[in-house]
Symmetry: D2
Subunit: 388 residues, 4 copies
Amino acid sequence: MVGYAFMGAAHSQGWRTAGHVFDLPMRPVLAAVCGRDRSAVEAAAAKHGWAAAETDWRRLIERDDVQVVDVCTPGDSHAEIAIAALEAGKHVLCEKPLANSVAEAEAMVRAAEAARTRGQLAMVGFNYRRVPAVSYARKLIEAGRLGALRHVRVTYLQDWLADPEAPLTWRLDRERAGSGALGDLGAHIVDLAQFLAGEPIAGVSALSETFVRERPVLSGARAGLSGAAGSAYGPVTVDDAAVFTGRLASGALASFEATRMAAGRKNALRLEINGERGSLAFDLERLNELSFHDHSEPAATAGFRRILVTEPEHPYLEAWWPPGHGLGYEHTFVHQARDLVLAVAAGADPAPSFADGLQVQRVLAAVEESAAKNAVYTPVPPPDAPRA
Amino acid sequence: MVGYAFMGAAHSQGWRTAGHVFDLPMRPVLAAVCGRDRSAVEAAAAKHGWAAAETDWRRLIERDDVQVVDVCTPGDSHAEIAIAALEAGKHVLCEKPLANSVAEAEAMVRAAEAARTRGQLAMVGFNYRRVPAVSYARKLIEAGRLGALRHVRVTYLQDWLADPEAPLTWRLDRERAGSGALGDLGAHIVDLAQFLAGEPIAGVSALSETFVRERPVLSGARAGLSGAAGSAYGPVTVDDAAVFTGRLASGALASFEATRMAAGRKNALRLEINGERGSLAFDLERLNELSFHDHSEPAATAGFRRILVTEPEHPYLEAWWPPGHGLGYEHTFVHQARDLVLAVAAGADPAPSFADGLQVQRVLAAVEESAAKNAVYTPVPPPDAPRA
Amino acid sequence: MVGYAFMGAAHSQGWRTAGHVFDLPMRPVLAAVCGRDRSAVEAAAAKHGWAAAETDWRRLIERDDVQVVDVCTPGDSHAEIAIAALEAGKHVLCEKPLANSVAEAEAMVRAAEAARTRGQLAMVGFNYRRVPAVSYARKLIEAGRLGALRHVRVTYLQDWLADPEAPLTWRLDRERAGSGALGDLGAHIVDLAQFLAGEPIAGVSALSETFVRERPVLSGARAGLSGAAGSAYGPVTVDDAAVFTGRLASGALASFEATRMAAGRKNALRLEINGERGSLAFDLERLNELSFHDHSEPAATAGFRRILVTEPEHPYLEAWWPPGHGLGYEHTFVHQARDLVLAVAAGADPAPSFADGLQVQRVLAAVEESAAKNAVYTPVPPPDAPRA
Amino acid sequence: MVGYAFMGAAHSQGWRTAGHVFDLPMRPVLAAVCGRDRSAVEAAAAKHGWAAAETDWRRLIERDDVQVVDVCTPGDSHAEIAIAALEAGKHVLCEKPLANSVAEAEAMVRAAEAARTRGQLAMVGFNYRRVPAVSYARKLIEAGRLGALRHVRVTYLQDWLADPEAPLTWRLDRERAGSGALGDLGAHIVDLAQFLAGEPIAGVSALSETFVRERPVLSGARAGLSGAAGSAYGPVTVDDAAVFTGRLASGALASFEATRMAAGRKNALRLEINGERGSLAFDLERLNELSFHDHSEPAATAGFRRILVTEPEHPYLEAWWPPGHGLGYEHTFVHQARDLVLAVAAGADPAPSFADGLQVQRVLAAVEESAAKNAVYTPVPPPDAPRA
């Protein structure tokens, strides 16, 4: 694993746990973790249960005891590390967003395709697909329980930037993070919309905004930030929020909102999908629940059902606890680890693929283009569009 | 009152009840109701408690026992009736949307201004401003409890057209209704956004869609519909749904959705407003509740409060029942009647004014223009923009 | 109508409105209202729309223009007025609880039975049966959708006495009110349990408590209170809260709680019923909603449905507004007026009958007896038990 | 660890994870797990990460590499194993309920007291105290945010026995399980009531019921059940449900319900506590949320707040994920492991103690006694009552 901050901790928990909960044909071994600061990475290795620590990711991917490289760094290094790891013969799991640009993402897809011919797998970490309620939502849609889709609406609301004095971090720096709420939160909701609908977004119209343009620079964090040279306040070079609408390939209307300025909303990834035959709703703040409306039910007894997605019949749940004993955020990483192990054992393609990650990147690029051009409707190249 | 269908019944309940609940300086008398079909209008008069029935609205507005004309007809006749009533010296309450076009709305504002010099009042029926929770939300925003606004998101979701075999009615006919979900539902949410924020929408970017383009013609309803000449199916000439984003004058981002195709959502006018210091949320399906997050509260005890807006301190509530004994949809019309009576007694301007109705119309026109031009961001003329 | 305070206002709204909303064979006329203070009752008559005012209920029940006497006084006068009205040949609607004692209630049932032979009707005002969601819950249970009942749990939580400085009123005086939370709130939940289950409560075990034993005496209210002679504080002679368990005739377990000390709960009449085949839940603070779990649904898609009880298929709703346009507290009184008018027109027995009211009284008496005897399980005489 | 079924799996997850998430002075090592069937226990050891397997718990507690014995067996063996482990010089964590009888629990407390003089610790596994929302609720009550307590109501509703054909297991056998819903679910809610209120239950009045008295015998499970000799159906010898009321030492009224027959409720441990100054509510099915009503807030802005208990200021949360990224059921076991490790390292008494477990047992015994004696109010010996 490369990187050991928030995402690294979450991935570690996934790798450590998957083999103890699921019956897997291979059990993951936490071979080595990599970070630039030796004492910090060694402390992280000890804490998170990795057998060894490296300070150069190039050394990590050369190790013989490493079969899978898990990339948990900021977006600006995804492409370089992931491509090198694939070229070094490793399977790769790369955190989302796949890259900071379409060009990088395309290069990563090419590398993944080449590696695939050698039997290697590549997967992008859109972990929310693996919330059981979300997985099950996809199953219901796949089974036709919603009929023709009419509406997809997804918001991802957080509030850690609502306070104008919240400090600058690498996440507010365009060079490191690529974009702001859009790449961080928007990537998730774009992926979920396409995953759940089972079809790509065809075009978008977008507005974005940076409400607070300067924020206090934390002395310790200063080095890692571009454009923050010694002053008390530094520029925010990414968006605080983006709102966009779009059309799915089938013609359904979609709306999206990603923001870090929604006071009181901590992790409100909320989605609702309406179809001719039914509707689904989900809120990540209540991740064990799925709301389902069956429009074929007689009107007098119809209504959104609060399904506790904790039954053995639900995805992933057979291995966990009895009904009603809910899971949490980190379980998505356990499921991700499990699914990648199963794919490796079976030699099967895991999902979401790097191509799925590229498609998200294309949508985000179209969003940025539309936002820059007075919100004009901007088509998104389809999945089979030629790559540069 | 002109018109006696759904809106006429609701307004009647408001006029009949206001004087028995609130202590008013003048008590409304239900003098006469007007409709084209004599036996139907006489039945309506008897049922809803009107003393007389007329079949020609021109006769109604000539009656000496009429001081207020309440226009509850479809949008295509609002301008003609309201202007004539104002010219005849009556106060006018006109259902929303104010008109089917900006030009009509401008003419109505001109008529209202002229009438105002003669002491007459004109009010447009955006009744949801008078849900106590909505009125109270405005008070909290006005008092600065949200600080600088960042986000306004409002959806109005219904599902009575989710079934593709739901029949054609006048509401699906552009000539009668002006537009579809946009004018019917969108007008409400545009008004609420501007009312609550206390500022106009500066521009919009929009997509709209008619998912079901032909619907069965009910034989009885056929006559009233343009373009439905004897065939079993007739064309739907309005939008089923519209999604749009925008900016408020202050720079806050806004998103809107109006649809009649959201299976399972019956009357889901949902709004959330996020500011630097707090947030508010409301759902018309739970109209006695307001959610309020105070961002100045310590994080450990902060959270959205479910305020039951049924305390005597809340707008309109002193006259109603004890705390927790909720009100319903129709109470908005009782409050509307009360407020207009108070305005008449005081000679004060009621709100929302015809100018407020015009401003909504301008937003809706910009939405339609944007939707027709690839969603390009389309500015809305400000309230003080010159009128044609 | 006798009495014109809170209940009088609510009943007036019911009588005034029923004929304008429902198609009734007879339209109620608000003939006369009665109260002891002439100027106050005349003001009430004017405000609430009654044609005449009386200061002696004996005069009221002699009036030829009165066919129905609606008793809205405190419980200590119910028996005397209702029996006299029945003897005077009137139909009677009596507010709940039917009486302050079983003996009074028995006398009222006898009077009602005698009057029935003369074609007169008697009904007790358990208005919450007429919340559409509650009516519909009964229909689902009657149709067997819950199967054999296992559990009934009902709480009625208010908080207007949470503050120890809340003043004494007649409701805290045993002579006037009979009991405290038990008679006021407990009567409702006992009636609802028996109504919904369709069977009587067989026995109970109870604890009750008066947490605040002295409260400030309001000078204006002093005269009407026993035991509050001039002092600044007077004794509370009723219960603040009662909790009790019980068994229904079929063996289902039941639990009940009535309190005025539940800070933050304004009108939380919450009920849940679990049966072998399904469950229902309801909260009066969200009275347009009913939660229904169908246990025959596959586990993966099962869950409590939030039914918006606003469809034309639901009880009373055909006459009201479109789906999702909710009703409020006072509509229960409109429905009560409608149902009594229909019963009178048809010469049919209305429900709940005085016998139903007596049965509630028997349960409340058993609760008090159990509370006085160390909570020992105390049988309730069945509906067909001999009366004194 | 002794036992490796549901509880064993959950405890293993706790022991495996605690040291990787929290900074602990000692890191737990999973030395050995014990079960009677060698191949099964070896499989469990491999799966759950235990270094060794034993088939005799007496051998386990003799091992030198074992410092803590975690007892996860059915209740009938708790006393024997825990006492022996304490006598063997080990720290002991014992699953709830502490024992199947007061006498056993008393013996365990004596053993714990004796061991304490030798520096050993004993803790009982009421894991729900360690849901962060519950821990935080205790802090709010301790800080006086609720004032004098008036009401405690707690239900624990499950539905896995709603189906009369659900099979017999050891949990339905009095000899193994001690009691039914009462000991399994009731123990939790009794402990939580006493923990949160910070005071003991003084007395109870109870009803209990076995609705389904015979259930199908699974052939594989037959051996472990008393009274199920070869027949297709065997007797249920424990309660399906119990409802009880009580008084806390301070005089607050309490009500409780434990059932496995509440169709649609999967793990609905719901509690609400009302005090003079505020109220709290919690539902285990939404375990990341706590509802708090501050009664000192002005009425117009007061209401139950939905606190997402995921802030770094909340108990245990500093070590986990960012705000809004919720935890699940198993985290209670991680927290339990952490707290016991910290207690061992500090030589401090962990809570809940065996004495706390005994006090719960006394309440459960009083419940059973009351249920057997017509629900008569049955005092519970106070914590300082002499032990047999």
